[in-house]
């Protein structure tokens, strides 16, 4: 059953009241006027101390008694047929306990890194050595590694039964050509992006232990419950007999939703060995088959007039997600672009498959679209900020544009004339925007357990992959119980705990936060009921604040600890349910970023100096971890814009940079100064007003940087990453 509640929504002082439908079970939503003491402050991560001391146990660190070390043999070829596989020499090596041939004679390997066999041995060193003793006879087949090569008429097929070129979704559907033809100014441009690997620092992998019919698996995952299903399938047991533990996860970014081939190999080796086996990918395996962001080729055509009106935009995209996964690019929908038409093609190539990667489709699509908007603005002779403001129908974005311009000092940093700085190092400024969609979802539960000694434990089985979910839950329960977040113990990452979401779509915190708040509130009510008699109060008069019971607004002498003593021998155990989202104020979150770069026109090197990131996340629960998420998104965006590129040799199909030497990830000297600003929007989508935050901050960065580079040097690099060779080539082309 539900009830109607009026609540205040809005942003930047523009507050209005709306009515939302709230489940009976659910607390009243916090509105724009909610007075909160912990929520919205700067709270240090609750698992900080165990992480900075090295005590936090990640999957990689787990070693149950008798555990063996696993290793995986991978295909050295881009495409081949396995004629034969002989594991006997490996089996004979002292210290090897089990060998599993994942590919049998006759099987095809489809990419460099395709799993061929697994070994379990007493030590890592022996397992690695054993791999060299597995004799595989391959018949090497021709392979295709690029969209162009795979799209040729006579190209070898990656899958025998499917053409390489697969039509994707068509969107928009308007007759953009017709609209564009009517425009006085027409622009055409093609943008390309390369494959980016997730490069989570903790690689994929697991430790599997099988005792009779029950399976315990420690897994580096962003989906404990999803992996429970995966391991149940691999071990052919019921899900109820599988426990997945993932107490701490060294990053995932969208790549760690299932148990992977390594999970299947670990189960096979564990069965064969009769002992627990750990299979963690090495860095090379992680690059080769740990997921990636697909490449993109985005051909834009658009029409505009001198006033900055856009008549229409048409875009045809293609890209490759290797042997699987679409390669679509997502483009912003909050700009008024006239007729919009989009077509999409996915091209299969001989490479490890793409997986969801932090805002799938968005960094590449927004790089394309935001670059193209700048090109339209330039054609129209309008400042790109003004151009966007003219063509934006999102009120939150419009407010953010102004705030960003002020914090960034757009007028000063944007070069009126490109290349006007003295000397070879030219500065420039650019901007881009983002949008995201999620406010979490229903169906999850959070338990709060209060002990007579005053200990408060919050429990949920989902994982915290470094986003700060633990801290968010602690803050929300602390808010309701009048405690400090570090007084709350949060247990997560174990499927014996209440059900939680997979960490995808920036939904984890917003899916669990409202349930945690509900559970905290329930615990408060139940605890205070026990104090009513002692304090001679009516239930409605009492509250919890700053660690004591408050009566009619005044603190009493009853501390939280004393209150809990009233539990006697009982432990208070309550459950908060995540009810469905309301029809709230805004369905999306908005972000705007402005970047300043310095381009050395003689060496071609680009440095990103400064990024202002304005980001809406609904109600920000913890401003400190908010800043971290935003800064982290920006830095990943810088890395994507300037450095990262999976390189496949076009002839052999091998990845030539499966490491951190030549797969280049931004380091400390490559980071811009980052000013991360929360743009608070009271959104009333759920009882907290939380929205997704993990993905959006990485969406606009590459586009903003590309636009800044164009502003700095007066010529556009339409291809990511913007490496010195491309900058020098663009400058050379401009000269001639």
């Amino acid at each position: 059953m539900s009830r109607k509640v009026r609540t205040k929504v809005g942003f930047a002082g523009k507050v209005e009241e709306i009515e939302v439908t709230v489940a009976d079970n659910d607390p009243d939503p916090w509105g724009a006027d909610a007075k909160l003491s912990v929520v919205g402050t700067r709270v240090p991560r609750v698992d900080g101390p165990i992480k900075v001391t090295g005590k936090a146990k990640y999957t990689y660190d787990v070693a149950p008694k008798g555990m063996l070390h696993g290793a995986i043999l991978r295909s050295p070829h881009g495409a081949a047929v396995v004629n034969s596989i002989d594991t006997s020499a490996a089996e004979k090596l002292e210290g090897v306990v089990a060998v599993h041939a994942a590919k049998k004679a006759g099987a095809r390997v489809l990419f460099h890194g395709d799993e061929v066999a697994g070994v379990a041995a007493e030590t890592e060193e022996i397992a690695q050595e054993a791999l060299t003793l597995i004799k595989v006879d391959y018949e090497v087949k021709p392979c295709v590694t690029t969209v162009e090569a795979a799209s040729k008429k006579d190209a070898p097929r990656v899958f025998e039964n499917r053409p390489n070129v697969q039509p994707g979704r068509a969107r928009g559907g308007a007759d953009a050509d017709g609209a564009i033809e009517k425009a006085p100014l027409i622009v055409e441009a093609t943008y390309t992006t390369e494959v980016q690997t997730h490069s989570s620092l903790e690689t994929h992998g697991c430790v599997v232990q099988i005792d009779g019919g029950s399976v315990t698996a420690w897994a580096s995952t962003q989906a404990t419950f999803g992996c429970r299903q995966g391991f149940a399938g691999a071990a052919k047991v019921e899900q109820g007999n599988v426990r997945v533990i993932s107490e701490h996860v060294g990053g995932g970014f969208g790549s760690k939703f299932d148990i992977g081939r390594e999970g299947h190999i670990a189960v096979e080796l564990t069965r064969k060995a009769g002992r627990p086996v750990k299979v963690m990918l090495d860095r090379k395996g992680e690059h080769l088959h740990g997921g990636n962001r697909p490449s993109s080729i985005q051909a834009f055509k658009g029409g505009v007039d001198k006033e900055g009106k856009i008549f229409g935009i048409k875009v045809a995209t293609s890209g490759t997600g290797g042997i699987g996964g679409g390669a679509g690019s997502a483009h912003p929908g909050f700009y008024t672009v006239g007729a919009w038409e989009k077509s999409e093609t996915n091209v299969i190539t001989n490479a490890g498959e793409a997986r969801a990667f932090r805002a799938p489709g968005h960094p590449q699509g927004f790089f394309g679209m935001e670059s193209f908007l700048d090109e339209l603005a330039e054609k129209a002779g309008i400042d790109p900020l003004e151009f966007r403001k003219k063509n934006c129908r999102s009120k939150v974005h419009l407010a953010e544009f102004d705030l960003a311009a002020e914090k960034f000092n757009w007028k000063e940093r944007r070069r009126a004339k490109s290349g006007s700085d003295a000397g070879p190092k030219k500065r420039g400024a650019g901007m881009a925007s983002s949008v995201w969609y999620n406010a979490g979802g229903q169906g999850f539960k959070v338990d709060v357990v209060v002990s007579p000694d005053g200990t408060v434990e919050v429990r949920n089985g989902a994982q915290d992959i470094g986003t700060g979910t633990r801290t968010v839950l602690a803050v929300l329960v602390a808010e309701e119980l009048g405690l400090k977040p570090d007084q709350i113990v949060v247990k997560m990452g174990d499927t014996i705990l209440p059900p939680g979401p997979n960490s995808g779509g920036s939904t984890t915190a917003a899916s669990l936060g409202p349930a945690a708040r509900a559970a905290g509130l329930k615990a408060k009510k139940e605890l205070l009921e026990r104090a009513v008699r002692d304090l001679k109060a009516k239930p409605g008069d009492l509250d919890l604040k700053d660690g004591v019971v408050v009566k009619s607004g005044s603190p009493t002498t009853m501390t939280f600890k004393k209150l809990c003593q009233a539990l006697g021998t009982e432990t208070l155990h309550v459950t908060g349910d995540r009810e469905k989202n309301y029809a709230g104020y805004s369905e999306t979150v908005a972000g705007v970023q402005m970047a300043e770069v310095e381009v050395d026109v003689e060496t071609g090197q680009v440095r990103c100096l400064r990024v202002v990131a304005i980001q809406d996340a609904g109600r920000v629960v913890d401003r400190l971890t908010f800043e971290s998420q935003v800064s982290g998104g920006v830095i990943q965006g810088v890395s994507y814009a300037l450095f990262e590129e999976r390189r496949l040799d076009p002839n052999l199909g091998v990845m030539v940079n499966p490491d951190f030497l030549n797969y280049k990830v931004a380091g400390s000297k490559d980071c811009p100064e980052i000013i991360a600003i929360a743009f608070d929007v009271a959104n009333a989508k759920n009882n907290v007003g939380m929205m997704g935050l993990g993905e959006p901050p990485t969406i606009p960065t590459a586009g903003a940087i590309a636009n800044a580079v164009a502003n700095a040097i007066g010529v556009r690099v339409r291809s990511l990453p913007i490496t010195p060779d491309k900058v020098l080539a663009a400058l050379e082309a401009k000269k001639s």
Partner: protein, 326 residues
């Protein structure tokens, strides 16, 4: 890694004997390169002779303007010691190498003897000429980081940061073999793939570098600069060492050596000649830089090294003359 027997040598002489004693034995100083290769099973020595306990190779002396640098001196210490003065390019080259923690252990001898960083060479599963294969996958493959001079048959670039300065300053490399000691001029130390595909220098397998000595360059000024993609840990795309003997701003003698453009440190006499007798300014430096890349034959993916390299050489010359600061 394969299983190997391990033995610590206490001196270069002992190391040379221990190397001679077992076929395929390899020498290890800090091991930052060797262990990496062994993890990829590119090298599988039955014996590793470790210098971790070796004596007499860890000192630097800088008497009389020159320097004698023990082979086990770390890059960190070298960068600290030779930060200024005529030999500054050496310190700068050491300081730009790899990462702080690599520089803390990586040695001068090891830096000079690093195997190529060619990504095909470093992939254990890919055959290449250096690994006994029949052809070079880089020539028709992805060669963005490869050579633009002497690209046949194997277009590696020499990975040593110190190689350029060693050649530029006319260093002498002191070597202990199992049969005795000898000295090798830096310019004769490095060898091209066409001379011997299996190695990058003239050392025999039982040779141990004991020290590198640099002659005095009184009054000279020098600089080492790199062009790269990342500022943090990255390999140079092009690097340049410039050593100038200046008198009143006029260049009496110049040494210009390029790195990351050829399988050996690439000295460019034409650029040196373009500087001799000239007052150093931007135009003169640019002309020398242009000369430095005459004859470059980029591969399919590395033509950018020419314009970038010209800028780096120009700046290195200007930096040596005190006319450029990064």
């Amino acid at each position: 890694m394969n299983r190997f027997e391990y033995v610590r040598a206490r001196s270069a002489k002992e190391a040379a004997e221990l190397l001679a004693g077992t076929k395929g034995a390899l020498l290890k100083a800090s091991g930052t390169d060797l262990i990496d290769r062994m993890k990829s099973f590119i090298d599988t020595p039955p014996r590793v002779v470790s210098l971790s306990n070796a004596d007499g190779m860890s000192d630097i002396s800088t008497d009389g303007g020159g320097a004698r640098i023990g082979a086990l001196v770390t890059l960190a210490r070298l960068a600290e010691t030779l930060r200024e003065g005529p030999l500054a390019a050496i310190g700068q080259a050491a300081g730009e190498a790899a990462t702080p923690q690599i520089r803390n252990v990586a040695t001068v001898g090891g830096n000079l003897c690093q195997r190529p960083r060619c990504w095909y060479y470093r992939l254990g599963e890919v055959p290449c000429l250096k690994k006994g294969g029949k052809d070079c996958p880089a020539i028709k493959g992805d060669n963005r980081y490869h050579a633009i001079f002497e690209t046949s048959p194997c277009p590696i670039v020499h990975p040593s940061n110190l190689g350029g300065p060693a050649v530029a300053f006319g260093a002498t490399i002191h070597v202990q073999g199992s049969k005795g000691i000898r000295e090798i001029k830096a310019e004769e130390f490095f060898t091209l793939p066409k001379a011997d595909i299996a190695r990058e220098n003239v050392l025999e397998r039982d040779d141990v570098i004991t020290a590198v000595s640099i002659p005095a360059w009184k009054g000279a000024r020098s600089a080492y600069l790199e062009g790269r993609e990342k500022e943090s840990f990255d390999w140079s795309l092009v690097n340049a060492t410039a050593v100038l003997q200046l008198e009143g701003g006029v260049c009496r003698e110049a040494r210009i050596v390029l790195g990351s453009v050829a399988p050996i440190p690439w000295r460019v006499p034409a650029a040196e000649a373009a500087l001799a007798g000239k007052k150093i300014d931007e135009a003169v430096a640019a002309e020398a830089a242009r000369k430095a890349f005459e004859g470059a034959k980029p591969l399919s993916g590395n033509a950018y090294k020419v314009p970038m390299g010209r800028a780096i050489v120009k700046r290195a010359i200007l930096a040596a003359a005190g006319l450029w600061k990064e």
